[in-house]
């Protein structure tokens, strides 16, 4: 936490080294989060790219009020939500019935993963985004329900509900139960 604050302070003064260190520290964390939320490697990479570029652009005036990790996770989450909405709008415009998450994974990544993880990713793509968000931010983002609720400005109970329903649905999907 202190290290992050120091890095942010250095970034505010234009330190390239500090900016790169922040990237190195959080790039995989953010990519995992983004891919978990979107299910698409290319889009997840774009989000991580956009978050860091936006962060660099505003670094001169950036003020860290909480943890940097939490801030970056929020940025990823917000941008992922935008992408989902854009997909919905696009699908609406085309009159398409394609699922929101097509799951166009990187074949190399697929090969490296176990079948179980691949099935998990497919199942993740079938649950509502709000539930996926609560699950990913809690389990992969390392954020507490209280923090997620505060960031999204909803009650802890709402986040807890989304998390529980999401896990429940994942369990049904992975166990081959029919979703209604």
């Amino acid at each position: 936490m202190l290290e992050d604050k120091l890095l942010v302070l250095k970034c505010r003064r234009g330190s390239k080294d500090a900016m790169c260190r922040i990237y190195l520290k959080y790039k995989d964390y953010m990519l995992t989060l983004a891919k978990g939320l979107l299910g698409d490697q290319a889009e997840a990479e774009d989000i991580v790219h956009d978050v860091f570029v936006a962060f660099a652009r505003s670094s001169g005036k950036f003020q860290l009020t909480g943890s940097l990790k939490g801030y970056l996770a929020t940025c990823v989450s917000n941008r992922a939500r935008d992408r989902i909405r854009a997909r919905t709008r696009q699908a609406d415009a085309l009159g398409s019935t394609i699922p929101l998450l097509a799951g166009s994974h990187d074949p190399e990544q697929h090969a490296a993963e176990t079948e179980e993880l691949t099935r998990l990713r497919q199942a993740m793509s079938q649950i509502p985004h709000e539930q996926r968000e609560a699950i990913m931010l809690h389990l992969k983002g390392g954020m507490k329900f209280r923090e997620i609720a505060k960031l999204q400005d909803v009650s802890i109970s709402t986040i807890h509900g989304r998390y529980r329903y999401g896990l429940d649905k994942l369990r049904s999907l992975l166990n081959g139960e029919v979703e209604k």
Partner: protein
Amino acid sequence: MRPAEDIKKLIETLSDKTSAQMDQRVRENMLRALAESEKPSVLTRPKIGRTIMKSPITKLAVAAAIIIAVTLSINLWDKSTPSAYAFEQTVEAMKGKWSFHIQTFWGSPDWRKDEYWAEFDENGKVLRSRQEEWNGREEGDGPRQVTVWEDNTRDRYYPETGIELITRIGNTEPELVEFDPETTVQKVYEQVENGQANIDIQEPVMDDRLITITVTYAGSNAKSVLLVDPETKFVTRSDSYWWDSEAEHECSFGIEVLEYNQPFDASVFDLNLPEDTITIDQVSQEVGMAQGDMSDEEVASQIVREALEAWAAGDYARAGKLFGGAPPELLTKRYSHLRPLKQISLGQTQAVEYRKPWFEVPCTYDIEYDSQIERIEWKMNALAVDGQPERWYVSIEKTP
């Protein structure tokens, strides 16, 4: 059957690594953005001078230019020429404001806080207003809440929960007055009059279009910068800076005026709610519970207990009234997963700092989840009802 714990562990094993190409792309663009961010903007005008003066060649050129300029103009300028602009002109001009559309932000416009539209009567009182609270959310996310106020009624919509809360409030939220550029100007004027602040006026030179007023405060590191339109004398932007010693960084808060004295379309003051919105109306009906002889803490605890009991018993008419005038679907659909089976206990009430009495009441009770009984712990909110003196209601969400 795969247990939930297995799925959690599986999710925790998800791990993606960035590729070398991606690393290169991000680094290049990130460092370019960092370099561009260091270029000074109009708002950091003082830094421009410092940056330019770092170069010895520029120093010489500037010195030469100053000598020429002074020599040429010395016979043209009367030393007693008064400034064409006086701050009083802005104080006076701002009184002619009858509508504004402003945006407020923390730190930089990237971190948008609120957006307001407001119309005023001839005495400067708010006739109607709309507030969109963004607090850092981006355009695609939509605002956290939208509020329309008119005729002593506040209509607020919470997009996350799909709840609309209508309350009777005689005055608008204090923020509107606080963020009103006229209030800022008036405060500065009074502080200057009382010797608590000094102002430095820089009139437009060359192609700079706006008058810059820098306000410094006696005995403080804080400062404000106001930008004034030289034609209308209206403040178009206000930035306040102060040093947060605890966080060891400079904080800033800004107000940007997007429009002055423009008539707004009626739709600006219409919430235009989605069809599935759940409306909690506290204006057209008596809601909640009378406080009677109970203290604030006692009534907070009592109303939460009764609301939970009514909900558990399936008495949605009573529960809805205690939950602030909520229709049954709030409890049967939106929050059905939180319906208590059996009330266990309530903890110590905790006061929440707010403009009206508000207490958080910790609750522990059983719910049915996945055909099993589970115990949950969380906090209900007991608040005074706006516009219904001595009455309290319970809110499930912390926001209303």
